[in-house]
């Protein structure tokens, strides 16, 4: 009546249990030869000489494509956990299908599983519509409830005299090795169904997915479409289930689609990318599991897709974290540089451009920064060729080290003048056209001067009728001034 007494720690049990699972999975790995040479192994895999390898590779690719395509739809509609729920909700259906057919009839199990998944999804929809429950609680409820029911039924069947339920555990973890040509058939059917559905109903699906109320107003049967998609999703999950297992099938739904979502915004492209990524992780996972000594295929496929996701997340050229961090850093450097150059201009403006160079301390005073900070800024300018530095020749009498004098190079001058021009034009534009108070415009101009393009500046100039002075009475340098090197072009001191 009671379980036999195991006088061990609970954790011993737990770990041993996990280990057993591993051994179940170990049976699922593909590698079968004693060949030591991994090059030969790799060649053997990629030439697809063995028929078993062919079947497994085709199966993994098909599953990857199926789940990737469905996943594109699932993830873009924020239903990621929905796939997870669905994959757990099919369990009781498998048990019931077995009960009715009294055998491990593939078709019966699959039908039962699809229907039970569909039932679970419908219950979520009903709970959401008719009660105040939120979607996440409804999903959690259905997930755990159906799963509990499934486990109870499977346990019950395992105890029943006719037995034969032992294979059902493969639905929990999945195994690639047991894949036969017959198993490829549902996968192929599923793929063709998905493709037909997506191609024929592309516009309808897109519309009902992204703007259901508009779709309804146009007269599309949104609810029917929704249920069709759920049915298709359930079928996709069920057909992949015995290969990859309950938990990890949702990984294959989510991860390739999330990766594709990082690469593009367009739905059609997202679907294609996510199918390709799914197929690629499928074959890569298969290969690694084939090469490795004790690697189960399902989890390795998932880890491959995770790795791919992380690579894209960090290194994708447009939106990857690393490239955009570098871009931000570069932009920050440019803006700091431009601000220093602007301050240089203002220092020279204070003495009405009578001198061509200025001392480092006057710049520090202008920027209200310490000497060391100013030193660093000027170093940066010199490094980029915007300024040169020389010792002041005049003040040799004091024992103090002589004052360092800085002068701008022509390219430095050009940028400084341009910044000043952008800044003052924008200030004037705000006061004149947008009726800002003159003392409120500085901060805004301080930001826009770095971004505003040449074209916009000309437009502003035209609107303001080529103004001379900004709201504070200072001269606005014109484009002509910039081109000519303006007032007194500083002499470039030869080194």
């Amino acid at each position: 009546m009671y379980l036999p007494i195991w006088k061990k720690l609970k954790y011993t049990l737990l770990i041993l249990v996990l280990a057993r699972e591993a051994s179940v999975l170990k049976a699922a790995q593909i590698s079968s030869t004693t060949e030591q040479d991994w090059v030969n192994q790799a060649i053997r895999f990629w030439t697809f000489t063995d028929s078993s390898i062919q079947i497994i590779a085709v199966g993994a690719i098909l599953i990857g494509i199926n789940c990737g395509l469905m996943g594109g739809y699932v993830v873009s509609r924020r239903l990621s956990m929905f796939g997870d729920t669905l994959s757990h909700a099919v369990l009781p259906g498998i048990a019931v299908g077995f009960m009715i057919s009294q055998s491990k009839n593939e078709a019966a199990l699959m039908l039962g599983a699809t229907l039970s998944g569909f039932l679970g999804v419908s219950i979520i929809a009903l709970l959401k519509r008719h009660t105040k429950m939120k979607e996440d609680s409804a999903m959690g409820l259905v997930l755990s409830g159906f799963y509990a029911l499934g486990i109870c039924l499977i346990t019950y069947l395992q105890q029943s005299p006719n037995g034969g339920m032992s294979g059902l555990e493969s639905y929990l973890f999945g195994s690639l090795v047991g894949l036969s040509t017959g198993d490829l058939l549902p996968l192929c059917i599923c793929l063709s169904l998905i493709i037909v559905c997506f191609v024929l109903l592309n516009k309808e699906l897109l519309l009902s997915g992204f703007d259901p109320s508009f779709a309804r107003s146009v007269g599309l049967p949104v609810d029917i479409l929704q249920y069709c998609i759920w049915l298709l999703l359930a079928f996709c999950i069920v057909s992949s289930l015995q290969v990859i297992g309950v938990v990890l099938v949702s990984a294959l739904l989510i991860i390739p689609a999330a990766t594709a979502g990082l690469l593009t915004y367009k739905m059609s492209r997202l679907l294609v990318y996510s199918g390709i990524i799914g197929a690629f992780s499928g074959i890569a996972g298969c290969f690694l599991s084939f090469m490795g000594e004790r690697l189960p295929a399902g989890p390795v496929i998932v880890l491959c897709s995770t790795l791919l996701f992380l690579t894209v997340l960090f290194f994708s050229p447009t939106r990857g974290i690393l490239p955009s961090w570098l871009r931000t850093r570069k932009r920050g450097q440019r803006i700091r540089c431009e601000n220093t150059l602007k301050a240089c201009y203002q220092v020279l403006e204070e003495c009405s451009f009578s001198k061509q160079s200025f001392s480092q301390t006057s710049l520090a005073r202008r920027r209200r920064k310490s000497a060391a900070e100013t030193e660093r800024e000027i170093e940066a300018l010199i490094r980029q060729g915007y300024a040169t530095r020389q010792e002041s020749p005049t003040e040799q009498k004091s024992e103090l080290p002589s004052e360092t004098m800085v002068s701008l190079t022509p390219s430095g001058w050009e940028i400084a003048t341009r910044m000043i021009r952008n800044h003052r034009l924008w200030e004037l534009y705000l006061t004149k056209e947008a009726s800002y108070a003159p003392d409120h415009v500085h901060d805004d101009a301080e930001k826009i001067e770095h971004i505003i393009g040449e074209k916009t500046v000309r437009q502003i100039e035209r609107i303001l009728d080529n103004p001379q002075r900004d709201p504070h009475g200072k001269l606005i340098p014109s484009q002509d001034d910039i081109d000519r090197g303006w007032l007194s072009p500083p002499l470039v001191v030869d080194k």
Binding site: K10, V17, L18, L248, L295, P299, L303
Partner: protein, 313 residues
């Protein structure tokens, strides 16, 4: 199969059985109570599936702790599991806030990857020991009475597993009572909480920590996935009965007693795993709540609407 009345009485027929089953019932009660209390806040914050995510995400932590210490003692396994659970939570949070991914995708992506990593590590390192895989999936609450006996000051003072769970349960209750105001305000109105000067982010992390603790403590008795049932069922069922959060929280206690007692009997009657039958008992009590509950039940709602409609006419 046993007769119904027999099934009701059978577990309590001899003294040995009474002691044995009482321990199981007590364990089940504490598990579902602590899960339910945390679950209330989790459900209110619409993070219900986080429990599922964390319970899967702890697997690599357990395996790594086992690999490092090469032992199965409780301490390292707990620390590993807690760290992995927190890592899972933190990575979901990071993906959600710092990348274009939405919350659901971040969650699904993280926990499945963690789980896959755990399985791969396990299959790489662990030997080919054979034992029933049922325990990990369904939990092993039926084995609670077998855990080693503790002796305090030379006195036999009960069951180690019960004490562990008791400490976790007590911690949960105390934290919920002490931080009740904070949890309440941050759950329902984040901006109000911020304007009151509450450390919203830290409360969020604290709740995550509590969640990880409860999940780690519970999953060995009710299994990985049914932790979620224990977390969602009590708040969701009682939300149909009561309107205010304190009543919902208090309602977790009778519900958890019902779950464990009914689960035990159901398991006894039908030979089901105990934890799964606890979840089934939860579903059984959820259905009338959902249909007839005074606070938003489907049928009561309709009746009210019909009454209102007729009044309008």
């Amino acid at each position: 199969m046993l007769d119904f009345a027999e099934a009701l009485l059978d577990p309590w027929s001899t003294q040995e059985q009474v002691i044995w089953n009482l321990q199981i019932v007590f364990m089940g009660m504490m598990v579902s109570l602590s899960c339910g209390l945390v679950g209330c806040f989790v459900v209110v914050r619409r993070m219900a599936l986080l429990g599922d995510a964390v319970s899967h995400g702890i697997l690599p932590g357990i395996v790594i702790a086992y690999l490092i210490t090469d032992s199965l003692s409780i301490g390292p396994v707990w620390i590993g599991a807690c760290l992995a659970g927190l890592g899972c939570g933190a990575s979901i949070e990071w993906l959600r806030t710092k990348t274009p991914l939405r919350e659901d995708a971040a969650m699904g992506l993280t926990f499945t990857s963690f789980f896959a990593l755990g399985i791969v590590l396990l299959s790489l390192e662990a030997g080919a020991t054979h034992l029933d895989p049922a325990c990990f999936l369904y939990g092993e609450i039926g084995l609670t009475p077998l855990s080693p006996k503790l002796e305090l000051w030379g006195l036999p003072s009960g069951n180690q597993a019960l004490w562990n769970m008791g400490v976790v349960c007590l911690t949960t209750m105390i934290s919920v009572i002490v931080f009740y105001r904070f949890l309440l305000v941050t759950s329902f109105d984040c901006s109000l909480a911020r304007s009151l000067g509450m450390p919203v982010v830290w409360i969020q992390y604290g709740l995550m920590l509590l969640l990880a603790l409860v999940v780690v403590a519970s999953f060995e008795s009710v299994g990985v996935i049914l932790v979620l049932a224990m977390m969602i069922l009590p708040p969701v069922s009682s939300a149909f009965l009561f309107h205010r959060l304190p009543s919902i929280l208090i309602c977790c206690l009778p519900l958890s007693i019902f779950y464990s007692v009914a689960g035990l009997h159901l398991a006894h009657y039908m030979n089901f795993p105990i934890s799964a039958s606890m979840a089934l008992a939860g579903i059984v009590i959820f259905l009338p709540c959902c249909l007839l509950g005074p606070n938003g039940g489907i049928l009561t709602n309709n009746r009210l609407q019909i009454r209102e409609d007729s009044r309008d006419l």
